[in-house]
Every structure is written in structure tokens, then in C-alpha cells.
């Protein structure tokens, strides 16, 4: 149903300050045509500010925003022709579902018959066929979300912006909608910029993720690389769980508590404060007395706590150095039977390919 295909977005050195607070600090961002890009960051990081700059509701102090070849940074919001799903949905309570979805078409002078047809088509797209006559207050949260989406896509904008659209839904519905939104994006193919603070949501849905902190983009990469190869400790900490063990780097040799570390490819050991990133699911418990392979780093410690979480368990382990790491495992009967008890010694293995170093801070990408 897409009229003119998607448009790339090019953000160039966009800065927005409130007093001395940098909401956006000279942000550069290239969103590819048809891409699903997520802005991920904690609250106050500037992700929503950036989205509002794209929508035209926030006027930056300086910088350039281009949709395709067109400079839009000074263009009023109603002339930008981008679709947007608000966090609050912002469905007009004084119009019914069809009235809401038909609103952008009426503004564009579409004929009455075409409006009815396209509204119904948009409703079918979001799996709400026949709901046109419902009042907004009669809809559930998930249905409102779909109506808001239908309203944002009915006029076939080439860019779609979404501001935490799933945050008001309960967990199961949210996970369901993540998959559905992703499928819809593949059908419609419009360039999509999605804002969330939920790292799992970002990992599930995105082609690429831009991790934002303090008005700067810390890393822009695919979900897998963001998770496996974070550019700095902030990204590693914000996306997923992790422990960070300080390592010593001298002349290219990396040691952890005096023991040389076996590192995977792409793990660079720059001088300065570096940390070994230890994600719970990358560790495994080594059986007693078994020799570890040549490509495994061994961390020895004592079980501090056992937490049962249904499909998986978490074992908190205190290392000899006093540092704490966690190991996650699946709760199969076999695994549970051989689990060391609280207070008992335990040896943990970390494969060379999973051993990755992160700097404390890196200058933003």
C-alpha cells in the first residue's frame, strides 16, 4: 500500500540545550531507507527529544534534519508528512475509530468514498476490521494501540515515528505486538524510528539500534553487535545484564587477577581502564575435576546465592578477588541435580570467543 517508498533520514550535528543541560549534543544519525531503527536509552537521555525534532515538535538550537533530499529542520510539523504513534496514542475522544483514522485523509481532501475504503483497509492491516464505528473509550489498550497505528499509516507516510508505543501494555500483549509491529514494518516498508527504554524490545524489533545517553549516540549498530560487542561499559550495562571485572593491560598482555586472559577476535586491549564483560548466560559451571579446554578462561569462586526463575536459574558467585559474577543456566533436572550448594566452591568457564573487553568510556560514535 505504500505510495512512494521509504525515505532515508539524515540528522546532522543537531544540538538542543535547556539552559546548561544538553538534551542533544551535536547528534549525527543516518537512518537508511526502509530501516527499522530504535533509539534506546534511559529516561532523560534525549531519545524522545530527538524523535520530537524529527516530528517537528521540538525546535533544535542548531543542526540539519533531512528527509531524503529535503531539508526539514525549519518545516512546521503539519507539513512534514510523517506518521507518528504517540506514547499516549492521542486518539481523539470525540471521534469514533473511523473518524480518527479518516482525519488525516479528510485534511488531504480525499473523497468520502475513498476515505471509507482506505480506513477499512487500514483497519484490516492492523487486524481490527469492522471496528470503524466503535468509540475510543470502548477499546482496550491493545486495540487503541492498533488504531493509533492505523491512523499513522493510513495516509501512507514514507517515514513512521513511534514514541514508546507499547509501554502502556501488559507484558504478554507487548511481546505479541513487538512481533506484529515488526511484521507490519516488513509489509509496509516505511522508514521507522522507534523510541524505547526497553532493551529487550529494542533487540527484538530493530534492524539497528542507536544507544543514547546524555544527548549523545554512544553506539549505532545491529542488535547482535550492540549486545555482544558493546562499545563501552555504559552500553554493555544498559543492554542486558553483565558483571565487569577490571583487567590489567600492559604491552598487549591482558591479565585478570594476575592470570593471562584468552580473548576472542575483535577484543582490543587499549591502554586505560578496561573491563572484562561477563554476561550470565555466557558463563557455564565446570564439573568438578574436569580439565578445562585450551580456549576457556576459568573463574574460581564460591556460591553466594541461588535464585530459581522458572525456565532458568541464576547463581551468584563470589570470586576469589571479592568481585561478584552471576551465571545463568537452564533448569533441566540433570543441571539442577549437579548444582553446587550455597557456600560450596565452584569453577566457571568463559569461552575465549565470549571474552570481550570494554573501556570505561569511549568517545561517542
Amino acid at each position: 500500500m505504500n505510495r512512494g517508498g521509504a525515505l532515508p533520514i539524515s540528522v546532522n550535528r543537531v544540538t538542543k540545550t535547556y539552559g546548561r543541560f544538553h538534551a542533544l549534543d551535536s547528534v549525527d544519525l543516518e537512518v537508511r531507507s526502509g530501516e527499522f531503527l530504535t533509539l534506546l536509552g534511559p529516561s532523560g537521555s534525549g531519545k524522545t527529544t530527538l524523535l520530537m525534532v524529527l516530528a517537528g515538535f521540538n525546535r533544535p538550537d542548531s543542526g540539519s534534519v533531512r528527509f531524503g533530499d529535503r531539508e526539514v529542520v525549519r518545516l512546521a510539523p503539519h507539513k512534514r508528512d510523517v506518521g507518528m504513534v504517540f506514547q499516549s496514542y492521542a486518539l481523539f475522544p470525540h471521534m469514533d475509530v473511523a473518524g480518527n483514522i479518516g482525519f488525516p485523509l479528510r485534511l488531504r481532501g480525499v473523497s468520502r468514498g475513498d476515505i471509507a475504503r482506505r480506513v477499512e483497509q487500514a483497519l484490516e492491516t492492523v487486524k481490527l476490521g469492522g471496528y470503524g464505528g466503535r468509540r475510543i473509550e470502548q477499546l482496550s489498550g491493545g486495540q487503541r494501540q492498533r488504531v493509533a497505528l492505523a491512523r499513522a499509516i493510513v495516509y501512507e507516510p514514507r517515514i513512521l515515528l513511534m514514541d514508546e508505543p507499547l509501554s502502556a501494555l501488559d507484558k504478554q500483549l507487548r511481546e505479541h505486538m513487538q512481533v506484529e509491529l515488526r511484521q507490519l514494518h516488513e509489509t509496509l516498508g516505511m522508514t521507522t524510528v522507534y523510541v524505547t527504554h526497553d532493551q529487550r524490545e529494542a533487540l527484538t524489533m530493530s534492524d539497528r539500534i542507536a544507544v543514547i545517553d546524555k544527548g549523545r549516540i554512544m553506539q549505532l549498530d545491529t542488535p547482535r553487535r550492540i549486545y555482544e560487542r558493546p562499545s563501552c561499559r555504559f552500553v554493555a550495562e544498559f543492554v542486558g545484564e553483565s558483571a565487569f571485572l577490571p583487567v590489567k593491560v600492559s604491552q598487549g598482555i591482558v591479565t585478570l587477577d594476575g592470570v593471562p586472559l584468552k580473548l576472542g577476535d575483535g577484543a582490543e586491549a587499549a591502554d586505560g581502564a578496561m573491563f572484562l564483560m561477563v554476561r550470565p548466560e555466557k558463563l557455564r559451571i565446570l564439573p568438578d575435576g574436569q580439565q578445562s579446554g585450551p580456549d576457556v578462561n576459568v573463574l574460581a569462586g564460591r556460591v553466594a546465592r541461588f535464585i530459581y526463575q522458572g525456565e532458568s536459574f541464576v547463581l551468584d558467585v563470589e570470586l576469589a578477588s571479592g568481585a561478584a559474577v552471576s551465571v545463568r543456566g537452564m533448569t533441566s533436572s540433570a543441571a539442577m541435580a549437579t548444582l553446587p550448594q550455597t557456600g560450596e566452591p565452584v569453577r566457571l568457564g568463559l569461552d575465549r570467543s565470549d571474552a570481550f573487553l570494554v573501556p570505561l568510556e569511549e568517545k561517542p560514535a
Partner: protein, 298 residues
């Protein structure tokens, strides 16, 4: 109660009795308020009705109503009353809506300061404000002095002791009653609605007419209704600023009592005004479909 079968479930009877007792306790808490409403509202209005059906001789009769129906002057007074009230309400809406809109857009703290400016006159006596308008609007008053001084008009304009004075004074005094509920409902409108309208392609004026105005309508209707009802019974300001040229029902009631000591006639006027007002409001609410309008405002 008899429908509930005695149950062998533990504590069923006791729990049921607790529920009934709680119900009656809560009811007894509201008893003083109910009593007050009965004594202050139901009894006087009932008495008003009763008086209006008594002849001067103290017997049941419809003579007061017959006189209201037969004399053209009464119909004229009622028409004037409704016209003046309607025009005052319209003026309040025209002045009050932009003002409330401005206040709703301002940062809360500045809006609160401006609100004090709106409310300050509200806290002074109606009588004082009405006399102030007399002073301002008379032939040698400030308004005429300035107007002529600036060469805007040559002769002193008749601004008081007529319809113009009545409308100016009533509008000024009624304005806060419109602004308060309207401002409240405007503050409650989520800014995302107007943003969404703009995002969907509505120019600022289209967004206002298609989204903001309908969403502020419940507050506007509430404010306008209050103003209209208060205007129907307004006495002091129209009596002083109208100069005897604009006769409203309230003034006629006053003359009937003060001059002629005719409680029956005054009561009949009051009853007719009350019934007309209620009927009109009912009609208006049916036409405008308030519930549907209100249903959307959260």
C-alpha cells in the same frame, strides 16, 4: 433479603449483617446534608409553589398565573430576561474563551498569577463593582472623558442606565463563572491531541477547530450554563445599570413584594422562571447531546 437462602457457609449470616450495618452507617453520615438540602431547598421551593396558588384572599386559585398569561407586559419581561441573559452569556463566551485559552497555554505559575487578576474582582462585593461601573460609564465618566479626549467620539455616549450598561456590568461580573470551569477543562486537555492533529497534517487553525474546540466544549457548556442561569435571576447589577429601562423578572419580583406586598404574584413569577429555566436546560441538553460530548472528556 428473603431471597437469600440461609447458608451453611462459615459466617455467611454475620458477614451479611455487617454489610447491611455498614450500608446504614454510611447513609446516616449523609443525613445532616440531606436534612440541610431539604430545609434550605425543598421546603422554600415548595412554599413558593404553594404561595403562587393562593389568591389575595388566601384561597386556592390560579389568578396569578392567569394574570401572567393575560398581560402582555409579563411576556415582554420574560423575553427581555432571556434575551439579556443570552446576550450576556454570548459576550462572556466571546471574551472568556480566548482568555481561558491564553491562561491554559501559559506556564502554570504565571497562569496562577493571571488567574488571581481574574478572580480579584470576584472577591469584592457585587454592589461595589456595579457602582464602579456607574462611575466609569456615566456621561462625565472616565470612559466618555477618554473617548472624547482621544477624539474617538464627539458627544458623550449613553453607556449606562440602558441596555448597554446592563450588558457591560453583567458580562464583567459573570466572566469568572465562565472562565473557571473552562480553564479547568482546557488544562485537562492532553497536549498530545493537538500535536497529533498537527502531525496528521492539520494547520494550527484546523487543529484548533477540529480537535481543541470540541475537547474544550464540555467546560464551555458548563461555564455558559452557569452564567446563563445566574443571569436569569440577576438583580443588583441590571437594576442599577439598567436605570429602569431594562426590566428583568427579578426586578418585577422585587417590585411586587416591596411595592405591592403581593407574595402570590411574586411567587408565580418565580415559579414560571424556574420552570422555564429547567425546561430550557433540558431541551438544550437533549439537543446538544451533553452526555456524548462529556463522554469523551477524560
Amino acid at each position: 433479603m428473603s431471597g437469600i437462602a440461609p447458608s451453611s457457609a462459615p459466617h455467611a449470616a454475620l458477614l451479611h449483617r455487617d454489610g447491611v450495618r455498614e450500608h446504614w452507617t454510611l447513609f446516616s453520615l449523609s443525613l445532616p446534608a440531606l436534612l440541610l438540602v431539604f430545609v434550605m431547598l425543598v421546603v422554600p421551593i415548595g412554599w413558593l409553589f404553594w404561595l403562587s396558588f393562593l389568591s389575595d384572599a388566601g384561597e386556592f386559585s390560579l389568578e396569578h398565573y392567569r394574570r401572567l398569561a393575560s398581560q402582555a407586559s409579563y411576556a415582554r419581561i420574560f423575553r427581555t430576561t432571556f434575551e439579556v441573559s443570552l446576550v450576556t452569556t454570548a459576550l462572556c463566551v466571546l471574551l472568556g474563551y480566548p482568555l481561558a485559552y491564553l491562561l491554559a497555554q501559559l506556564p502554570r505559575r504565571i497562569a496562577a498569577l493571571c488567574m488571581i487578576a481574574v478572580l480579584l474582582p470576584f472577591w469584592t462585593s457585587v454592589l461595589v463593582r456595579t457602582y464602579a461601573w456607574l462611575v466609569l460609564l456615566q456621561r462625565q465618566g472616565i470612559v466618555n472623558d477618554w473617548g472624547m479626549g482621544l477624539g474617538l467620539w464627539q458627544e458623550p455616549l449613553p453607556l449606562v442606565h440602558n441596555l448597554a450598561g446592563t450588558l457591560i456590568g453583567m458580562t464583567h461580573i459573570m466572566l469568572p463563572y465562565l472562565i473557571l470551569p473552562l480553564y479547568g477543562s482546557m488544562r485537562a486537555i492532553d497536549g498530545d491531541y493537538v500535536k497529533a492533529a498537527a502531525n496528521l497534517g492539520a494547520s494550527p487553525s484546523r487543529a484548533f477547530w477540529a480537535v481543541y474546540l470540541p475537547l474544550s466544549l464540555p467546560g464551555l457548556v458548563a461555564g455558559a450554563t452557569i452564567v446563563f442561569i445566574l443571569c436569569l435571576g440577576f438583580y443588583i447589577t441590571p437594576a442599577l445599570l439598567g436605570g429602569g429601562r431594562v426590566i428583568l423578572v427579578s426586578m418585577r419580583i422585587a417590585t411586587d413584594i416591596e411595592l405591592f406586598f403581593n407574595w402570590g404574584a411574586a411567587s408565580a413569577l418565580g415559579v414560571v422562571l424556574l420552570v422555564l429555566t429547567v425546561a430550557l436546560l433540558y431541551l438544550a441538553s437533549r439537543l446538544a447531546g451533553f452526555e456524548r460530548l462529556m463522554g469523551g472528556a477524560k
